[in-house]
Amino acid sequence: MISGDAYVLCVSLAGWLCGRALSRGRLGALESWALGTAASLGLLTLAAFVLALVGWGLPGPLLQLALLAGGIQLARVLARPRAGQERTSSRRTSSGRESTARESTEREPTEATSPRWPWLVVLPSLALAVLMAGDWGQREPAGNWDGMANWTTQARHLARSAGDPGEGLRARVVGHADYPLMLPLAIALGWQWTGDETQHVPRLLAVLFVLLLAAASLGSFARVAGSRSACFASAALLAAPALQLAARGQIADLPLAVLTLLAGTRLVASLQASARGDADPLPATLTGFLIGLLPWMKNEGMLLALCLALAALPAVIGRLKSHAPLLGRLLLGALLPLALVRHFKHAWAPPDRMLEQLKPAMRNFVPDPERWRIALDGVAREFVPLEFGYGLQGLLQGPWIERWGGLGALCLVALLLGVLRRPRAAQGVPLLATFGWLAALCLVYVLTIADDPQWHVDTSLWRLLLQMLPFTLFGALAAWSREAPPVMLRDSIRPPDNTSPEAP
């Protein structure tokens, strides 16, 4: 138990140190911790996968510590301001023309001195979600299916395999053996510390991801809407019944929602930084790495990464030349996780039944109007009341209220109206990603090879929607926030390059 705590604490500490390297602003501290921890965990599992591939087996605690320390040092080196940059920034700020970053640093004390009581609003929701995720009770000690039970089953194969861990995974006859390995490897690495296969490690990881979601949402929402609004929005997000349900089942969609939020918000920030001519390579590479981690976390992550990439296209396509360095860095960051995911899929994972049967499914299922009706009806019911005929009582029934408490509908409407009213390309990313995700989900459910598509929609759609919801809420807040542009993570230490030819 103590060793399991130590493992999670070490990963969190590494995340905090990485976050310190990335941001020195108080406002970004929470988000930076979430960013650093997610990146550290991703890097650690990727390194463990590489070591397993070359036959070294899973790294022990000492090697894991060395890998974490190496990652922190790398982040510090990369985050160090280049020679002349600080001088440039001081010259800029001393000029008559104040920069956006200067504004942001001036805003920071305002946010920090805002009333403390809104922070209390988050606590009940957060406490409930943490209790749900980390419950030590007897009910479902192994977690839900599609959740901790699946992570631990896979982790067990990895931890017990003396030789080729891939062989054990291929031999699995049931249950998502094709799921990528970020969470199973994180658990298996924790078991290297504890020496046995205790359930405390996956439970602590589930709790860690709830805390990461709270930190990432508070930090990123505060950047665009101020700390008070961020507290209310985070509290509403954490109290959503679907999120509590996800925490209770310790399902992997909640960690994926954290990664999607981090990757999406970083993508928006990178686009804005690139538009300002900020040539800092680290944040963009980190963004690419986070996007690459999405498919490393769960299969749906590949679709999420595609949605984010496609959503960024309109912002990039008009200014391809100026955004070219950004694209290069994004690809560079995503290269390692994507390459390893590809290798995992080809060498270790059993064939994906859905992909295998994609062609006949497209031929047979796409023209089927009943399948489209089921998919569209399922998606619509998550956002709007469709239980007609029962008056007000009917309106207040159905998944849109019972599962989301209206949060999904509110986010979608606010995002749509906000972006329509204020159509800035970078802020269109959450809108396009959200609607792209909804369209992709409809297609997935039309093409599903499950015997009963209605059952598939009923049991899994809400979890897939949850993966995007925090980023959708971020988009809604950004679209309706104050006129001041969002504060960049590193703006407090590095103002944008207003002297570049593209700057206004």
Binding site: A149, A225, R482
Partner: protein, 172 residues
């Protein structure tokens, strides 16, 4: 001012503008507060239900699993190293841990024995098969039909609807 569809931020946003929240933004926050007020009691109720269920005791699939079946299996097939489990609650990971059971998926929509061709094949290959579908009648019916088809012995867990099928000719 800002051009439409441009991602270039304004160079010098005025201090007054940065401090004035937009009306729409305030409405959004109020709406979020309403959602929070609506959802917090639900979340609390969920937690209460969750903890109440925990206190009531373990659900059946988390109870000490099949102790009688294991004893009977040891007596019938002392060298059996694994059991093929047919269950639609494949999340019973602890069973895997305790018994070293090999899991087999059974689609949710299985409602007749014809879908259990894999179980039939396993029995014919000499592997013991545990049929543990969530619905009692379905489990028992499936197990009995499989046993009838293969000549397997049916072992019964007294406190449980699961049935363990021991093949007539055990494999290696």
């Amino acid at each position: 001012m800002r051009a439409p569809m441009s991602d270039t931020p304004p160079a010098t946003p005025s201090p007054t503008r940065t401090k004035t929240p937009r009306a729409g933004g305030s409405a959004l926050i109020f709406a979020l507060c309403a959602v929070l007020l609506l959802n917090l009691p639900r979340a609390r109720a969920q937690w209460r239900e969750h903890s109440a269920n925990s206190e009531r005791g373990r659900p059946f699939w988390m109870q000490p699993v099949y102790p009688a079946l294991v004893e009977q299996l040891d007596a019938a097939l002392p060298n059996a190293s694994k059991v093929i489990l047919f269950s639609d609650r494949v999340a019973r990971d602890h069973q895997h841990r305790v018994f070293g059971l090999q899991f087999h998926a059974v689609p949710r929509s299985v409602h007749d024995v014809t879908k259990l061709a894999a179980a039939l094949a396993a029995l014919r290959a000499g592997a013991p098969v545990l049929v543990d579908l969530s619905d009692e009648e379905r489990s028992v019916r499936a197990a009995l039909q499989l046993a009838e088809a293969t000549g397997a012995r049916v072992l019964h867990e007294p406190s449980h609807h699961a049935r363990l099928l021991v093949p007539a000719e055990p494999g290696a």
